[in-house]
């Protein structure tokens, strides 16, 4: 789809409006995003006030004191005024007071967010940024997955936030789900942390926010906030080894006899590569290619055949499989629920 028709885009834009965007910071759904949102309203209020006063005075001065060629004194120079220490002092002190006020309000949000006490019921997830996908590890649950992060919804009365421990395998990346929290960078040789607590079940979108190389744009983020029962079921499922199905033995053989296993893991098989996403439960995900296309047999087949088709710049090389092998390996992958 190289070109979208213009009128339908306009129509959806008008109907969704500003708050309708799935990544709008005006529609916060987690504590950090909420506190940033209220701080931004305060800052917006103050700066708008300053703007109205200063711009109003400027506009008034420009209109009131414009040169009028018809005036009898048009040719005379106006009175020369060189300055006033009292006035200078007042427009130095008042801004300083505003700055102090703004700073204190800001510092409170900085400290309450960064130094929030970690509840015992929190979940730990390790996030590793790769060119150009996300690796998620749940160290206490023994789960490794990619690109679609599942976490429990957090009831404000009994919070179960998720603490993310973040680093990068290659270049800098940044984790940004605008409705849940501000961003945090993933930097090689550095460990960062942040926490998120989605207060409503559902899917939260975002994407990599630090330029990380050719395919930065399609390094999309999907966070699923599951209800406690959904999450328990998801965890139980993810902890199982990959399904074994003799009907797709040929596809499995293709996978295991090609370089696929150097980069991908499928738990319970000889595939133990760590360079690319874990594929043990790849068929249970909604999307492939870091969230850029829906997970379907057709898309999987296209991706295996030519990874750069959806993601130019992707590091996975084309395997040059013939049509028969492609069909077989696709059939194998779709069984990995």
């Amino acid at each position: 789809m190289p070109f979208h028709p213009w009128p339908p885009i306009l129509a959806t834009q008008v109907t969704t409006g500003l708050g309708g965007s799935p990544t709008s910071i005006f529609n916060p759904a987690g504590t950090p995003a909420h506190s940033v949102f209220s701080l931004s309203m305060l800052v917006l209020g103050i700066t708008s006030g300053i703007f109205l006063v200063v711009a109003g005075l400027l506009l008034y001065a420009l209109l009131r004191y414009r040169h009028r060629p018809t005036d009898e004194n048009a040719l005379r120079e106006p009175a020369q005024i060189y300055g006033s220490n009292q006035i200078e002092l007042s427009w130095t002190v008042i801004p300083i007071l505003i700055v102090v006020m703004l700073f204190l309000a800001t510092a409170r949000v900085i400290y309450t967010t960064e130094h929030a006490a970690k509840p015992t019921d929190s979940l730990d997830v390790t996030v590793i940024g790769h060119q150009f996908w996300w690796e998620y590890r749940y160290p206490k649950l023994g789960i490794v997955t990619a690109n679609e992060l599942h976490i429990p919804v957090s009831d404000p009365k009994h919070p179960t936030p998720t603490y993310l421990t973040m680093s990068s395998a290659d270049t800098d990346h940044s984790f940004w789900i605008p409705r849940l929290a501000g961003k945090m960078d993933l930097i090689p040789n550095k460990v960062n942390t942040m926490w998120i607590d989605p207060q409503a079940a559902g899917l939260y979108l975002g994407q990599c926010a630090q330029y990380c190389g050719t395919q930065h744009a399609k390094m999309l983020l999907r966070v699923y906030a599951d209800t406690p029962t959904e999450f328990a079921a998801w965890v139980a499922h993810q902890r199982m080894a990959a399904t074994q199905n003799v009907a797709v033995a040929q596809g499995r053989a293709v996978f295991e006899h090609n370089a696929c296993i150097s980069c991908h893991t499928i738990a319970g098989t000889v595939a133990t590569g760590r360079f690319g996403p874990d594929l043990t439960h790849v068929a249970s995900r909604d999307t492939i290619a870091s969230g850029s296309v829906p997970n379907s047999a057709e898309n999987l087949r296209v991706f295996v055949d030519d990874p750069a088709h959806f993601k130019p710049g992707v590091l996975m090389p084309p395997m040059h499989l013939d049509a028969q092998d492609l069909d077989a390996v696709t059939a194998y992958l779709v069984t990995l629920k």
Binding site: L18, P78, Q80
Partner: protein
């Protein structure tokens, strides 16, 4: 009776009123070998204008690509090169040279000197910067070296490590970027040194520091900032080259190097650099707003203090570019405060301009119209800067299109508007011809509309979660309509810029003859002819106040009575 007799040597005293026609090669030799500050200044400006058009075209290509979601107008690789080249060019090969061009041309004239302190260093600095820019663009031919057909750098204008390491940037494109920035940095330091020496040592009799035009003060602060900030950048570029070619590991994270170290090196340059670019814009405003309000600048000492204050405070704000790096709450709070504090001296400047206009008689020439645009747009840019200075807001908005909108408000809305103003104001001095006010008004209004269409709306996709530096975006995010409007504004700005170029060419040949002092202004550059002779002043002037030409025009009420 004696008057009719002509001395024998009289023929030698005659200077021909029509200079002999010269060959193109002679003219060219004149320009290439010149050490005249005015010619070097004009070459800086011309060179910057060429790159302005090039980088502007890159911006247009970027905007075509982003006009609709999932567009395939350019490839991701091409897009990444476009924004890298656009940013690098605009900062290093448009912003710096054009500001140095005006400084070079005007500072000696304003302080009553016949040239810069070091004319040969001046020429060297220009040519080494020019070589840097050429090298950057040569990467389009030689960037891949032996690896392929050539490519420009695609690491972004701040070139974060480890993207610049050999593992992620094979080929030579990153080296061209490094060398280009390094060379232009040498030229920058050379010119800054020259400006400081000129201002400190070459002022005409009577011009104490406190009587200098604010223009010179701003350039003094700007040049001092260059010393402090370009040096770390140069050091970092050398370290990067060592990493890439001699196996050191400063920024090579795969061997234990630090990505964050590069960020500190880059932003201790990169943020004060914004002030290096905006201080000259303040300099023009300080000259142009008083002349067209027909009043002396309000609060000269406060303006000097605010400028020097901005210079110092700007050295302590760099890590506000790193609020999402994980510096910890203490550092985030410190850099929030430092960044907010810089709003105070900046506010003082706006208030003093307002007070200068207050009670004056404002003449809305095109130069003043652009200056008024500057005032409003700089106000907005400052206020969005206050928003971004609050670290938590930056967690959301940093690296989003909100930031892109914010700094384009500074760079285009403030600096470029003030540059246009400076062109309309000083073009008569530089060429002897007025720029057409009629074409200028069209230029102003078209550019203003395009600017606001693009950059007002650009804040919105940032608020809706659109990160910068993505070559395309998903259709379901609600960003498409905004991007289409933003892109269309880009074309309107391009039309405005073309009108400006047309105006300069037309006016150069057909514009009204300016005379020495077309604006009835007050600083020394207007006391000599337009364009000034090679030696600037036949007799070095002596001044007794900040506005020597006011004193001449109003001997009954000179400024020196009040200073």
């Amino acid at each position: 009776m004696m008057a009719t007799q002509t001395p024998v040597h009289a023929v030698l005293d005659q200077t021909s009123t029509t200079p002999p026609r010269r060959l193109v090669l002679e003219v060219l030799h004149d320009w290439i070998a010149t050490v005249d500050h005015k010619k070097i200044g004009l070459m800086y400006i011309g060179y910057a204008l060429i790159f302005l058009v090039v980088a502007g075209l890159e911006a247009i290509l970027i905007r075509i690509q982003l006009a609709v979601p999932n567009n395939h107008f350019v490839s991701p690789q091409t897009f990444n090169r476009l924004f890298t080249m656009h940013g690098t060019t605009m900062v290093f090969f448009v912003g710096m040279p054009i500001l140095f061009g005006f400084g070079n041309y005007l500072i000696p004239l304003m302080i009553g000197a016949r040239d810069m302190a070091f004319p040969r260093l001046n020429a060297f600095s220009f040519w080494i910067s020019a070589f840097g820019g050429t090298l950057l663009y040569f990467s389009y031919l030689g960037g891949d070296g032996l690896y392929g057909a050539g490519s420009a750098p695609d690491v972004g204008w701040w070139a974060y490590a480890p993207l610049t390491a050999h593992a992620f940037s094979p080929g030579h494109s990153t080296d061209y970027w490094t060398l280009a920035v390094l060379l232009s940095g040498i030229g920058t330091i050379g010119t800054a040194l020259n400006i400081v020496a000129t201002i400190l040592c070459m002022r005409c009799p009577g011009m104490k520091l406190g009587r200098m035009p604010l223009f010179a003060w701003l350039y003094l602060v700007m040049s001092m900032l260059v010393f402090v900030t370009v040096s770390p950048l140069t050091a970092a570029q050398i370290m990067l080259m060592l990493d890439r070619y001699l196996g050191s590991h400063f920024f090579d994270t795969q061997a234990g190097g630090s990505a964050v170290l590069w960020m500190h090196f880059f932003w201790i340059f990169g943020h004060p650099e914004v002030y290096v670019l905006i201080l000259p814009a303040f300099a023009y405003a300080n000259e142009i707003i008083p002349v067209f309000s027909r009043k002396a600048i309000f609060g000269y000492p406060a303006m000097v203090a605010a400028s020097v204050g901005i210079g110092f405070i700007s050295l302590s704000v760099w890590a506000h570019h790193m609020f999402t790096v994980g510096m910890g709450a203490g550092a985030n709070a410190f850099f929030t405060l430092a960044t907010m504090v810089i709003g105070v001296p900046t506010g003082i400047k706006i208030f003093n301009w307002l007070a200068t206009i207050w009670g004056g008689k404002v003449h809305f020439t095109v130069a003043m119209m652009f200056a008024v645009g500057f005032l409003f747009q700089f106000l907005i840019a400052g206020l969005t800067g206050i928003m971004l200075s609050a670290a938590p807001l930056d967690w959301q908005l940093g690296n989003s299109y909100f930031v892109v909108a914010h700094f384009h408000f500074v760079l285009v809305g403030a600096i470029l508007f003030m540059l246009f103003s400076a062109f309309y104001y000083w073009f008569p001095k530089m060429t002897g011809r007025m720029l057409s006010e009629r074409i200028g008004k069209w230029h102003f209004w078209i550019f203003l509309i395009g600017f606001h269409l693009t950059f007002d709306l650009m804040h919105i996709p940032g608020l809706l979660g659109m990160p910068r530096r993505i070559y395309t975006y998903e259709a379901d995010r609600g960003w498409a309509m905004w991007n289409m409007l933003i892109s269309s504004g880009g074309f309107i700005q391009a039309i405005g810029t073309l009108l400006f170029v047309y105006n300069m060419i037309w006016s150069y040949f057909k514009g009204a003859v300016a005379g020495a002092d077309p604006w009835d202004a007050w600083t020394l550059e207007w006391s000599t002819t337009s364009p000034p002779p090679d030696y600037n002043f036949a007799k070095i002037p002596t001044v007794e106040s900040r506005r020597p030409l006011w004193d001449l025009k109003h001997p009954e009420d000179p400024d020196s009575n009040y200073e």
